[in-house]
Symmetry: D2
Subunit: 363 residues, 4 copies
Amino acid sequence: MPSNEFGKVFKISTFGESHGKAIGVIIDGCPAGLKIDSDFIQYQMNRRKPGQSKIVTQRKENDEVEILSGIFEGTSTGTPIMLLIKNKDAKSKDYSHIKDSFRPSHADFTYQQKYGIRDYKGGGRSSARETAARVASGAIAMQLLALFNIKITAYVSSVGHLKLDKNYKELDFNNIEKNIVRCPDLEKAEEFIEYIAKIKKEGDTIGGKITCIIENCPIGLGAPVFDKLHADLAKAMLSINACKGFEYGSGFDGTKMKGSEHNDVFIKDEDRVRTKTNFSGGIQGGISNGEDIYFNVAFKPVATILQGQKSIDKEGNTIDIQGKGRHDPCVVPRAVPIVEAMAALVITDHLLRNQFSKVEDLL
Amino acid sequence: MPSNEFGKVFKISTFGESHGKAIGVIIDGCPAGLKIDSDFIQYQMNRRKPGQSKIVTQRKENDEVEILSGIFEGTSTGTPIMLLIKNKDAKSKDYSHIKDSFRPSHADFTYQQKYGIRDYKGGGRSSARETAARVASGAIAMQLLALFNIKITAYVSSVGHLKLDKNYKELDFNNIEKNIVRCPDLEKAEEFIEYIAKIKKEGDTIGGKITCIIENCPIGLGAPVFDKLHADLAKAMLSINACKGFEYGSGFDGTKMKGSEHNDVFIKDEDRVRTKTNFSGGIQGGISNGEDIYFNVAFKPVATILQGQKSIDKEGNTIDIQGKGRHDPCVVPRAVPIVEAMAALVITDHLLRNQFSKVEDLL
Amino acid sequence: MPSNEFGKVFKISTFGESHGKAIGVIIDGCPAGLKIDSDFIQYQMNRRKPGQSKIVTQRKENDEVEILSGIFEGTSTGTPIMLLIKNKDAKSKDYSHIKDSFRPSHADFTYQQKYGIRDYKGGGRSSARETAARVASGAIAMQLLALFNIKITAYVSSVGHLKLDKNYKELDFNNIEKNIVRCPDLEKAEEFIEYIAKIKKEGDTIGGKITCIIENCPIGLGAPVFDKLHADLAKAMLSINACKGFEYGSGFDGTKMKGSEHNDVFIKDEDRVRTKTNFSGGIQGGISNGEDIYFNVAFKPVATILQGQKSIDKEGNTIDIQGKGRHDPCVVPRAVPIVEAMAALVITDHLLRNQFSKVEDLL
Amino acid sequence: MPSNEFGKVFKISTFGESHGKAIGVIIDGCPAGLKIDSDFIQYQMNRRKPGQSKIVTQRKENDEVEILSGIFEGTSTGTPIMLLIKNKDAKSKDYSHIKDSFRPSHADFTYQQKYGIRDYKGGGRSSARETAARVASGAIAMQLLALFNIKITAYVSSVGHLKLDKNYKELDFNNIEKNIVRCPDLEKAEEFIEYIAKIKKEGDTIGGKITCIIENCPIGLGAPVFDKLHADLAKAMLSINACKGFEYGSGFDGTKMKGSEHNDVFIKDEDRVRTKTNFSGGIQGGISNGEDIYFNVAFKPVATILQGQKSIDKEGNTIDIQGKGRHDPCVVPRAVPIVEAMAALVITDHLLRNQFSKVEDLL
């Protein structure tokens, strides 16, 4: 049953295993006539790639994206765009020890049970390496969104118990790429980095949160009932490896509020209808209302730790298992461009879907 | 663009407006040979229906489900099952005042902008009345799941700032239907009910949380990458009216944990592989591992309050708007069966999808 | 597995059995703002309905279409349109004799094998009664196409060995509804009618062909590779009960031609690029080129004959089976509006899909 | 809008242009545990590849299939299978003359109109080179079908006005690969080959027909209403380049028959229910009945001829256009494995879909 595809009209299909020959993605549904800046694709890949700083995994992959189809003389033709990323620094030997055993809180056990076979090298298909294909295709989606001036920005808003306690409006997004943890508050960034470094030294890992803001989203994206804009964003985020939760607008804190506090009063701001507050998070009835869309995404600590743990093998024997391989002590710095890419894919899909909501737009 | 359908192999398509002639649902993909207990469908409908207690809306609907197709002599035939629920107590006059104005934090504005027209009566399609169709179809999914002994239980775990601070394992689920707020802790239930009654008296509304547990889910449901079991649950929940957030397993609290604390060690329990702890929430790599699946769903306060508010009309004039109609002071008591229904639809879909994961199962 | 839905963006889902309470259809994806003429829907229903003439089945159904949702004050709202048609003249007693036996060339045997159960009354879901739902939803699609001046016309072009040997351009389509067999050549119509009447008297049935023309189809509908416009038309037609074949443009005769004869030379006709000949049938590379689209659809003789036949029962005993019930001696007169409806659904779907082929159309 | 994918549960997504870097396909939905024989894949590729004989195009492509993912130690893992075929002998210079002009009966004009841009080299995406990806993925489908003993055989049954007038049961399928035109009657094969050679010498092209037989198809594949097995076969065939028509079972000739002649009487053959005749073509009510499935596919003459033709350029000027490049004088010899591949994809999809038709099969 197909489950490696995302999107209804701007659809991506990804493939590839962590230690296979390559990973990649087909985009089926990109409109023709989009000028593609491949440097921008590579820029986004670099933000996600391993080995970029001292607080991420030291696997070395350049993650160079090769375009195999769908783009002619720099412009999309309306046919499938195929993006290929070869795997280079796959050290499969690191994984022979898990061939017959199940690492705690990994997908080894469930894949084995579901499929009766698994590519255990580097976690195979369950590896977050698959997200490189999302970032590559998301970078094309972003180039379409840029024509509409839609801007998507994600940043790290907590690491473990450490928390950035400012509203996104108080922050300078230009700071995000100025530090290796991708937090727009430079002081807080330092704290996060130090903490991750300490955790890494312990051979341990830590969770964290990412906040994402979508600015200039046109009114009308999203659909009633099942394909509410926030429902599609939730699925997109929860599909990212290690994600445990999603909230938008007032989120879980909104459960404590009264209607009289929570309601966003409509006001007229020059020609535009706006809301005074934005507890709705830019989405009402599943449809964007023109205000900023904002949401939080929770990530658990990485399961691979460089400490001894108990586990069992295929035969059910209790074993000692020791994390090997090269792993992230905390996913959030590298997950920032992934969150942005998935948000871009959702918004692009709904932007296109909204082309035929009204008969008058067709004529 | 279709957006009123949910599920890939056990698919529902809902239709209908709050004050139209009827609402309903087609189930396409229910296997043949399922004995249908229509009393059970009605039982679930009654748990969702308006007017059932003093803390819910007083609209009177019996929500009787008529089966128009797909069931022959009490058994499913493999053809589409059509369930029809007529609207009876629609007081459309209550809504003439919003024909040309936008209620704060409702979908009036976004529907009008997206479609250029809206059925304003009772909120039309944006009304939570649509969820009756979900509960009806979910009740059929549950009858399929019952053959596998899969059990889905939801309950209210917070109302406003009031919170049930017990793990689900300490609770007696038999208590849930013994009180009108649907909380398994009878003391806490009393607190919740009193608080909602007070909020109602103020003409205000309040948010809350629902916790849901799926027991006896077989190993292997869910799919790698985009259709992770929890990603589909997240989308299902966020598609429910007023939902603001979703977390499963360790959830947002898991972001504060270290890998060494969070990892669920595998153990052998008689013939079964189990985990010692269950921070994974029964899902690893997007696939169920046989442990309990549990998650929380956040609901905002209902937008309709019986207090005066400012808003604007279609022409952009500032107006005073006064909540009318019959509305819930808090959605969570009635949302319990909706959460269960959506969970049942997701699990049924993945149960069927898992039929052809392995070649050996086909032969 | 869902299989009762058709279309990707203008999608219909049908339900209902021949002798159940009702049949019907949900349209999900109709743009908002379409004025709906329900008389036109009924007009199309009447063209398909049983009992309309002496050469069709004598079952009496008015096939009145009730609109249950999605249309507000006569205009589509962008939400699902639900159309319900109640079954009235179901004489289920006529079918008790086939409860345990399999009628030759009917779906009794295959349904029983596939599902282990079947609603045998009137053939249940396998009855061509299901096509009433297609005609109803097709009538809404046609109202959308009318805004683009797209015109779909089908007619009977052969009955048994009798054949209308004229090109569609020589015919007066106004004659089609002037005779009960729906042939635009009135002389040929007489022959067809007489022949069907004779066949009927013999208790036998006969096959036939329908030709369909789509005029004023805009350039650009259809998609490369799998969703070629003619591939979707083929699937649409072959999904109609009793259909055995489809050909478009030069069709099967085109296999005998040379490229030098078959190629359609492009010419400039005032501002328009046209082709001198039209062996392509208005579609090149799967995409409409602005010329007339035309195709033929083959229908086999109805399987129910009023003659004794041998067959077997569930236990495998040889039995004599005698056709009962009220049946058509030839399907083509009533299939004309069904062919048109399916064509309208395909063209509408691709018309909407074509809205986002080019970036410049989005801006 | 995605249109480069085929299948619902065994789904392929193809990409690539005729003169781009590569073409290829992702298979999403292949069950785990299938042993893959890559020699067989290559064998099928060789049957389709250019340059294989004197009556096909002389482009030289080895069409070597590289497997980039989804197969681990020779066995499918349930994750996407990616098959890559690099383009080698692309002589793009041959195409500069059509950059700004439209070849008659090609897709140049419609692609340009639909997308505003086209990769004109070798026809880009509209080239039949895309079908190599279908053959590669079809070869994997066939390996799954082989486990069920399902056998798919296609052969050339007419070329131009020359026709093989024997029923498939009188033919020896072992002869098909013994001649370059792929006709099981060796005498007729000679005639076909000579005729094609003559046509080629004239710089012209010719159409033809392919007949396909599916043996040992289990009872129960296919679905009522829209996804009838023959409707999906029709779409599959019509999606092949140059295809103009499809008929199954009695086909167009069936329109001339009476019900009393056409009905297939059920008989008991040992333990099996069979039919005496098989005008149904192995499918009743859209569902396979266990008899042989057989159908015909019509192909038009190739549009590229090596003769001068009139056409127009982008500006609408009348021009002389001369066919260049290396092209087939007749598509049918190379289309045989394509027809088989598409049939295999349809049958595999429905074989998997049929896994959950009955509740009793689930338990």
